[in-house]
């Protein structure tokens, strides 16, 4: 579980975002939604150690600010938004996920190998493990990188806009993998742009606006908050029983 208290963060010396109280739980999917520039990605990057912050950030009751980078990476894995198409095969990429545990010098153990195979299996990438990343489609590459962060074997996984550039079919496959990860006990925190998708997959949602948390709660709680989504996104969300819909929500202008 990640507990954030009085986090002040931003780019450069300027404090642009203040997050007084945020909890991201294990075994749950928490999504963060908001307009561009509201601080969604900044929040995840601060947790991952990419952007400096002040305040308290505890993972499983361990204050991680002063942890060495590799120790932090044993607790929190981070999948960035922009994934590079480097010229290495999928298996090598997934092996990089074991870096926090074995460093540069040690060879992969039997346990490492088992975790890597499992990550490839969970993401359905076993058949593509010998392929170069540059030969993969965008969705396959995203899954390959997801396998890498799964192999990191952390209690919490942070995903920064993982579905933004995927077609709908690929998105569904990706989301089902996330669901399985949650069911296996991992905590997932994801920044999403699609509100319907966020409400459909989340156990808990943080809505950011104007560089701070505007509201939070379960999807059922938030949908009842009158005017919240309209004020931020200019739309309203309504629950729907229509089985032909991709997600059980309808967006109303």
């Amino acid at each position: 579980m990640i507990k954030i208290k009085d986090m002040k963060t931003g780019y450069g010396d300027e404090v642009s975002f203040i997050f007084p109280d945020i909890t991201l739980e294990k075994g749950k999917i928490t999504t963060i939604i908001g307009k561009n520039g509201s601080g969604k990605s900044t929040l995840l990057k601060s947790i991952a150690g990419i952007i400096p912050y002040s305040g308290s950030l505890r993972v499983n009751d361990i204050e991680i600010m002063n942890l060495a980078p590799r120790e932090r990476a044993k607790l929190v894995a981070y999948l960035p938004q922009n994934l590079k198409s480097v010229n290495i095969d999928v298996e090598t990429l997934v092996e990089h996920g074991r870096y926090p545990w074995h460093g540069s010098m040690r060879r992969l153990s039997v346990k490492d190998r088992r975790i890597i195979d499992e990550a490839l299996n969970i993401t359905d990438m076993t058949n593509l493990k010998s392929k170069s990343l540059s030969e993969l489609s965008g969705g396959e590459r995203q899954r390959a990188y997801l396998a890498m962060v799964i192999a990191q074997d952390t209690p919490m996984i942070l995903l920064d806009e993982p579905t933004t550039f995927m077609d709908i079919k690929v998105q569904q496959k990706f989301l089902s993998i996330i669901e399985n990860l949650k069911n296996s006990g991992r905590g997932i925190a994801a920044v999403l742009h699609n509100i319907e998708q966020s409400f459909a997959i989340s156990d808990f949602i943080y809505v950011l606006d104007d560089r701070k948390v505007a509201s939070y709660g379960t999807p059922d709680e938030l949908i009842k908050e009158e005017g919240l989504l309209r004020k931020i996104f200019g739309v309203t969300l309504r629950k729907s029983e229509d089985p032909s819909l991709l997600y059980p929500y309808e967006t109303i202008k």
Partner: protein
């Protein structure tokens, strides 16, 4: 990988043997063997142990150093035409070598240290321009060319005002091994060996950094530390090489790009192959430089420029878009 290492090792050994036994000195193969076995005359011993072997050691280590320096820079800047020559690092080192020759003549250790400082200074300027300003890859190369031009102008100025600072102006500016001194080899080679070892030990960090800074930090890599170490290594290697062979260009461009064509594995393998290929390539070029205009000798850098110019144009034309030069 193992097969490629084996082939390159055989080529390197062949290049070493040829470089040792072929030459324009008045000494035959049999006499060289006698000298190696400790039965040579005084003049033969001088030719073999004070001229030929230091030159071979210098050429092979400079080849490995410049190739690995180019490989590291290409990885760090994510730019396949980055090389210590094109980015002005060699000329930065050369400028500081000349400054040291003016202030501390005959001090090989100081020369090596100053070359490193010059190389480091230019490397950090280029790295800052690349990472700090969000400059495009093409602009970074052009900035290197501009820095290089400034360094060359100051080098020319120093040589014009103090012609005694370099024994052979043309040889220094083109680069070569005709004037290699044993003392300089004794200072530069350990620096090259240590830098190569550090590069090998930190090779896996290069692979992780290739995924981008955010992914690398997410994996727990201390990106700032490793980037600094790699830049230091690239600068040390280029600086040490320039202190031995002058402003030798194109090795750091040609060899890493050639290795890229035959090997697509991890950085550790890339570094090993660059060391072997760089050493063999520069040995062959230097042997050619000694023999091609027999009984005269041409600067090794001349051969490299003749090969390197078309090579650069070739990769620019063939891989223009893949290199990301249109950004």
């Amino acid at each position: 990988m193992k097969k490629t290492v084996l082939i390159l090792s055989i080529i390197l050994i062949a290049a070493l043997v040829l470089a040792l036994f072929l030459g324009n000195d008045a000494i035959g193969t049999g006499r060289i063997l006698e000298a190696l076995l400790g039965r040579g005359s005084v003049s033969e011993n001088i030719i073999v142990f004070k001229v030929r072997i230091p030159r071979i050691v210098a050429a092979s280590f400079c080849g490995a150093a410049l190739s690995v320096s180019g490989y590291i820079l290409q990885k760090d800047l994510n730019n396949r035409i980055a090389s210590p020559g094109l980015l002005g690092i060699n000329n930065g080192a050369g400028l500081f070598v000349l400054i040291s020759a003016v202030i501390f003549p005959y001090q090989s250790g100081v020369k090596c240290l100053m070359a490193f400082i010059g190389a480091l200074l230019v490397t950090f300027i280029v790295s800052l321009l690349s990472k700090g300003t969000g400059m495009s890859k093409t602009s970074v190369i052009l900035s290197g060319v501009a820095i290089s031009a400034v360094c060359v102008s100051v080098i020319d100025l120093i040589i014009s005002l103090k012609p005694e600072t370099v024994a052979d102006k043309v040889a220094f500016q083109l680069g070569g091994f005709a004037n290699v001194q044993i003392n300089a080899v004794k200072f530069a080679v350990p620096v090259i060996i240590i830098s190569l070892l550090i590069s090998l030990v930190t090779a896996s960090a290069m692979d992780i950094m290739a995924l981008g800074d955010e992914a690398a930090i997410g994996l727990g890599l201390n990106v700032r530390l490793y980037r600094t170490v790699h830049i230091l290594c690239a600068a040390l290697l280029a600086g040490a090489a320039v202190s031995l062979c002058g402003l030798l260009g194109f090795v750091g461009l040609m060899v890493p790009n050639f290795i890229r064509l035959i090997y697509r594995g991890n950085s550790l393998g890339g570094l090993v192959l660059n060391m072997l290929a760089g050493a063999a390539f520069l040995l062959v070029c230097d042997t050619l430089a000694r023999l091609v205009a027999f009984p005269y000798e041409i600067p090794c850098g001349l051969i490299l420029s003749i090969l390197g110019g078309p090579f650069l144009i070739g990769i620019l034309i063939r891989k223009r878009k893949r290199l990301g030069l249109d950004d």
